[in-house]
């Protein structure tokens, strides 16, 4: 299958990207070129093959639930584009 401009625009929205017309044009061609490779996987029967999401045989790594110091708020907020007191400031989210 091939992606249309509209689908690429939809993926850009899901990705929280905003593409210029020129970028969208180029992206559509390039994504389709790359996805042509993806079709190769259809050659393989993978019925009953367990997926690998992680290569090392470890799961549910646990540790004691102990209170430890966090980073000081000032250190964390030092990189904030905009702050208000001890919080991050953003444009209005709810009306």
């Amino acid at each position: 299958m091939r992606l249309s401009h509209e689908e690429v625009e939809h993926i850009a929205l899901l990705s929280r990207l905003k593409l210029s017309d020129e970028e969208r044009e180029r992206m559509t061609t390039q994504l389709n070129d790359i996805m042509a490779f993806f079709e190769q996987l259809g050659e393989l029967d993978t019925t009953d093959v367990e997926p690998t999401s992680h290569v090392i045989p470890m799961s549910n790594v646990l540790r004691a639930d102990e209170v430890k110091p966090s980073l000081p708020a000032d250190d964390v907020l030092a990189n904030a584009p905009e702050r208000a007191g001890d919080t991050f400031r953003v444009p209005r989210v709810v009306e």
């Binding site: 929280r16 992206m27 990189n79 444009p91």
Partner: protein, 509 residues
């Protein structure tokens, strides 16, 4: 260029510990070399002159006071700009993190500090480690010291070039699909991607979390073993870190490879009808014969599912990246658009549009699509299943073999600009390296020859957590050859690189 720059890190460390060379002297020589060649090479994005000299003096004082800091104390190191350093700008070579100052040190940085290493600065890389040429850096490309018209490889191209240009004796890189090994091969240096989980990823800016590993980049195998020793080990701050002690890697460097069983997987030499270049194949096969001459036993083997590494990797890595990079939203840290915005979604979109480069956007788009409703099973699910088949091929291979030998790259270093408009061609340059990441295996690149004045790497792939056997074979090979001692002609800016090479250090055997 001063003579101390030709020392390996192990040699320099030994002299510093004996106080026959000061860390300050060596650090100053490195900084002078950096000044002389950076205009042509651009391996670094930030250089910390003052901090490095201050640190070197501190190490000299501590050694003078009788402190034993280990074999690499006082030796300068170039750190890839993907590793967080407390209080020092760390950008991942992205506009979106251009002014980001981490509030903490990565675990590997803490370990390197404890080992007394001197940080020279941060090295250039493809933005968020996405690329194979370092051309995707937001701060301009790095040039290959062997030929300034060619790429150093990527994404750890700055670290590799800094070593090849004799700017630093040690470097650290990261490898998600070949980002340590491919630049190591292109720049004629030694680079090792450890087993997934061997080195802590705490403080490594995430690209694809099931694939990323930090590893050593050096000019020879002994330095590689010593630097891996510093980096490796369990870390409770990284839940994917393997709770196993790292063995003494230097102990594996005894040159004995008698009876070692080596597999040569044919699929590494040809991917769907595209064969690696003749000069690469001939050079790698000659390297196999060197190890056979030392008593190793080689046999041709098959890992059939390697024919699927490109689609599997270019689904899984972007899928993980699209999720990891969702955090760059202009709220907590990083770039925020100065443009007036109506609402929060507009803030996110405008910020990300301005902050990310073309390749990063491409991968976010690919990954978002591969994970989106209706396509998840066909793409991400399927790729994760084929990943299992790739792993099983290696498990089978390692029932018969101790190590696998293969090319690192399908071709010699390509020219700057040659593949930038063709992402598919660029992706295919990773074809020999990504399997080790998908299977979580340790793998390294060792210099094994030259063609047309450009270096070629031999890839050694090991069993999980068996970096020692890999280093053993690499060391035996290195001691039987001299390729690791070849350097680009040491010369000032403008003259570095080219077909003229000069024996450095001890000269040919």
């Amino acid at each position: 260029m001063s003579d101390e720059l030709l020392l390996t890190a192990a040699e320099a460390g030994r002299l510093i510990a004996r106080r026959e060379l000061s860390s300050r002297e060596l650090t100053r020589a490195c900084l002078e070399r950096v000044r002389a060649v950076e205009g042509a090479v651009h391996a670094f994005v930030r250089i910390s002159d003052d901090a490095a000299l201050k640190r070197a003096e501190e190490i000299d004082r501590r050694i003078a006071a009788g402190e034993n800091l280990g074999p690499l104390a006082g030796v300068p190191l170039a750190l890839k700009d993907i590793v967080c350093t407390r209080g020092e700008v760390t950008t991942c070579c992205s506009r979106i993190l251009e002014h980001y100052v981490p509030a903490y040190d990565a675990t590997v940085v803490q370990r390197l500090r404890q080992a007394g290493v001197v940080f020279l600065g941060k090295t250039n890389m493809d933005e968020f480690a996405m690329g194979s040429s370092t051309e995707n850096s937001a701060f301009g490309p790095t040039h290959n010291p062997w030929d300034l018209e060619r790429v150093p490889g990527g994404s750890s191209g700055g670290s590799a070039a800094a070593l090849a240009a004799m700017e630093a004796p040690l470097a650290v890189g990261s490898d998600t699909g070949g980002s340590i090994r491919q630049p190591a091969a292109f720049c004629g240096i030694t680079g090792l991607k450890p087993t997934y989980g061997r080195v802590s990823r705490y403080g490594l800016i995430a690209f694809a979390s099931s694939l990323d590993q930090i590893g050593p980049m050096t000019r020879d195998v002994r330095d590689c073993a010593l630097l891996l020793q510093v980096l490796a080990g369990h870390d409770p701050m990284d839940s994917t870190s393997v709770p196993a002690e790292a063995p003494d890697y230097a102990a594996a460097l005894d040159g004995d490879v008698k009876g070692l069983r080596i597999g040569i997987p044919g699929e590494f030499f040809e991917y769907r009808g595209r064969r690696v270049s003749r000069e690469i194949e001939d050079t790698v096969r000659a390297a196999v014969r060197v190890l056979e001459g030392l008593g190793a036993v080689a046999e041709e083997i098959s890992t059939p599912h390697l024919q699927y590494v490109i689609p599997v990797y270019y689904i899984i890595a972007p899928a993980e990246a699209s999720s990891n990079l969702a955090r760059y939203d202009g709220v907590e840290y990083g770039h925020r658009t100065p443009a007036p915005v109506e609402d929060i979604v507009e803030l996110y979109r405008q910020t990300r549009e301005e902050g990310f480069g073309a390749e990063v956007k491409r991968r976010i788009m690919l990954g978002t699509y591969a994970l989106s409703a209706g396509y998840y099973d066909a793409y991400y699910g399927k790729a994760s299943q084929v990943r299992t088949l790739i792993r099983r091929d290696f498990e089978k291979a390692f029932e018969r073999c101790d190590l696998l030998l293969a090319p690192v790259t399908p071709s010699l270093p390509f020219r700057l600009g040659e593949k930038t408009d063709d992402p598919v061609e660029m992706y295919l340059s990773d074809v020999c390296t990504i399997a080790a990441n998908l299977a979580g295996l340790p793998a390294m690149s060792v210099p094994c020859g030259h063609a047309r004045g450009l270096p070629i790497g031999l890839q050694i792939v090991g069993k999980p957590l068996d970096e020692a056997t890999m280093l053993r074979a690499a060391y035996a090979f290195q001691e039987a050859t001299d390729f690791h001692r070849l350097t680009p002609r040491p010369s000032p800016a403008g003259e570095a690189g080219g077909a003229v090479v000069q024996w450095a250090g001890r000269g040919p055997a």
